[in-house]
């Protein structure tokens, strides 16, 4: 008889095995090394790095962040040093402190930009997954976000699959009428997995100045408040696709991780919680065994409920 058995936290994303399901979400963790003053980030299942474009971007004017009830709005605007600087400067700094799987979050404003970014990051050491952010506007498609139509999602997935061998996950926007049809389109086009959800479009006004709080007027709403929305979308999508899904949105605790995995997620990204509590992911991982024990869970794989 086993006594004080350590529960199995490992999960799988396709062929990739993670030591646990907890992954800091893109944009909330930099390239990992900014977090090392707080804790050893090698405890993480994987890390999704800051969204990267082909060319350097400064992003939107300040202020870029607004307080909300149980959440925040950000309008960073994809600030990043560009894919070449990420490969030459950021990845080496990341690898110096972290030896686990890296998820490369890639954004683009055209099909060519996505494919060129993915071609350059493909094969980089430790980059086990490419995560396509399809929430950016398509400059050749009238400014509509790639993620809002089945056709454009399928087009970008097919184009990237043709140039990059790294498993391709599509990070879906919740700002659509039917996320299931978008998810199916991504799967049919050859996506190896999905991540959902990205931020909800939101806005705040400063009633004293009568101006929007963020300089860009609108921004992405994230944090605790969106957890039920994210969970519902993960549930809906997991009924309809057979590729792995990473659940993301408002996760703050081990209980949230388990709930998201019961909805069908194979792993879980944690975003805004890192901004508020830099040790959030470490604390969630530490909480998981006791929470699993309390719920009578031996293994995190196959928690999905019928």
């Amino acid at each position: 008889m086993e006594i004080n058995r350590t529960p199995d936290l490992s999960v799988r994303l396709g062929d990739l095995s993670l030591r646990n399901p907890v992954i800091p979400a893109s944009g909330c963790f930099g390239y990992g090394y900014v977090m090392t003053p707080f804790y050893d980030i090698n405890c993480l299942g994987a890390i999704s790095f800051k969204g990267t474009t082909l060319n350097p971007r400064f992003g939107n004017p300040l202020p870029r962040v607004a307080e909300c009830e149980a959440g925040i709005i950000n309008s960073v605007g994809l600030q990043n040093p560009g894919i070449d600087a990420v490969i030459s400067d950021e990845l080496p700094r990341m690898r110096a402190v972290y030896s686990g799987p890296i998820i490369a979050n890639i954004s683009g404003f055209s099909i060519d930009e996505y494919t060129e970014c993915c071609r350059r990051i493909d094969g980089e050491k430790q980059v086990e997954i490419i995560e396509l952010n399809v929430s950016c506007p398509n400059v050749h498609g009238g400014g509509m976000s790639f993620g809002t139509s089945c056709e454009s999602v399928a087009e970008v997935v097919r184009a990237v699959k043709a140039v990059a061998k790294t498993p391709l996950y599509v990070k879906l926007s919740p700002n659509v009428t039917d996320i299931v049809s978008i998810a199916r389109a991504a799967e049919e086009a050859g996506a190896d997995g999905l991540c959902l959800i990205n931020t909800l479009l939101g806005m705040r006004i400063d009633t004293r100045t009568r101006r929007p709080v963020v300089a860009n007027t609108m921004g992405g709403f994230s944090g605790r408040a969106i957890f039920p929305v994210a969970l519902r979308m993960v549930w809906q999508v997991c009924r309809e696709v057979s590729i792995p899904v990473i659940g993301c949105g408002g996760v703050e605790s081990a209980a949230d991780v388990i709930e998201m995995m019961m909805a069908g997620a194979s792993a879980v990204e944690v975003g805004t919680a890192n901004i508020i509590n830099p040790c959030a992911c470490r604390d969630i991982i530490a909480e998981l065994p006791a929470k699993m024990d309390e719920l009578g869970i031996n293994s995190l794989s196959d928690l999905k409920i019928k």
Partner: protein, 247 residues
């Protein structure tokens, strides 16, 4: 280094109708320079509130802050014994190693706060700092007695002339007993711009911004500088005047 921890309020009192002084007990071991800041978790709110550290010593830190919104209002109501969750040791802080014998410290409004610890460190380094503090009016004045008690030449300017020199900090500089050879400033952007473009001595300024994390992860407080994009929370909040683009 950064540290997250609980800090217990040992004093939280009003300096005037807008400004508060809070002393907290806790681990200050990660602070390395005056001008660094803390990010305060405020009960009931989501985002932490970045507050500059007026001064720190072994096991104690002092915050001087204005009540400007919901976060600082809640902070102002905290009683002795209440513990705040703080991220400490954030930001670069002021450079006290610069070649200067007579540095000038200029504060505007609550921007005077981080100059207190800075003045002490400069004095310990054998320098002779002078201080000019600017406010809108006499009812907003904070801290001149704190600098004077330490023996620093301290001038006050008020926009309405209700106390000290009438006008801005720039109007008080010619009245100093000796000419400064370097400046440190913290306050509103128009003041920092006037000093950085108007004074022909080198200097550095401390900026503020609405922040997300406070430790470099979210890039919500980025600034375009002469050396590329910098995060006010991590590469700042203090920048040499030549690093900043004064449009």
């Amino acid at each position: 280094m950064n540290l997250q921890g609980k800090y217990k309020v040992i004093e939280n009192r009003a300096l005037n109708s807008r400004s508060m002084l809070m002393r907290l007990a806790g681990d200050t071991s990660v602070f390395s320079a005056p001008g660094q800041f803390v990010n305060v978790a405020v009960p009931g709110l989501t985002l932490r509130r970045p507050i500059s550290v007026a001064d720190y010593s072994d096991g104690e830190l002092t915050l001087i802050y204005d009540i400007v919104g919901r976060g600082t209002k809640i902070m102002s109501e905290a009683r002795e014994g209440f513990s705040f969750d703080l991220l400490t040791g954030l930001g670069n802080g002021f450079d006290t190693d610069v070649d200067s014998s007579h540095p000038l410290l200029l504060g505007g409004g609550v921007g005077c706060a981080p100059l207190l610890g800075l003045a002490k460190r400069l004095m310990e380094a054998g320098k002779h700092p002078a201080v000019v503090l600017g406010f809108n009016s006499s009812d907003r004045v904070i801290m001149p007695e704190m600098f004077r008690e330490l023996g620093f030449e301290t001038l006050v300017a008020t926009v309405d002339g209700s106390v000290g020199v009438r006008g801005f900090v720039t109007d008080a500089i010619p009245l100093l007993s000796s000419a400064p050879d370097y400046f440190y400033a913290c306050g509103p952007m128009p003041m920092l711009r006037a000093l950085s473009t108007g004074l022909d001595i080198p200097g550095e300024v401390s900026l503020e911004a609405r922040m997300g994390c406070g430790f470099g992860a979210c890039v919500c407080c980025s600034l375009e500088t002469t050396k590329g994009a910098k995060r006010i929370c991590l590469e700042g909040p203090v920048f040499k005047k030549d690093e900043l683009i004064w449009k």
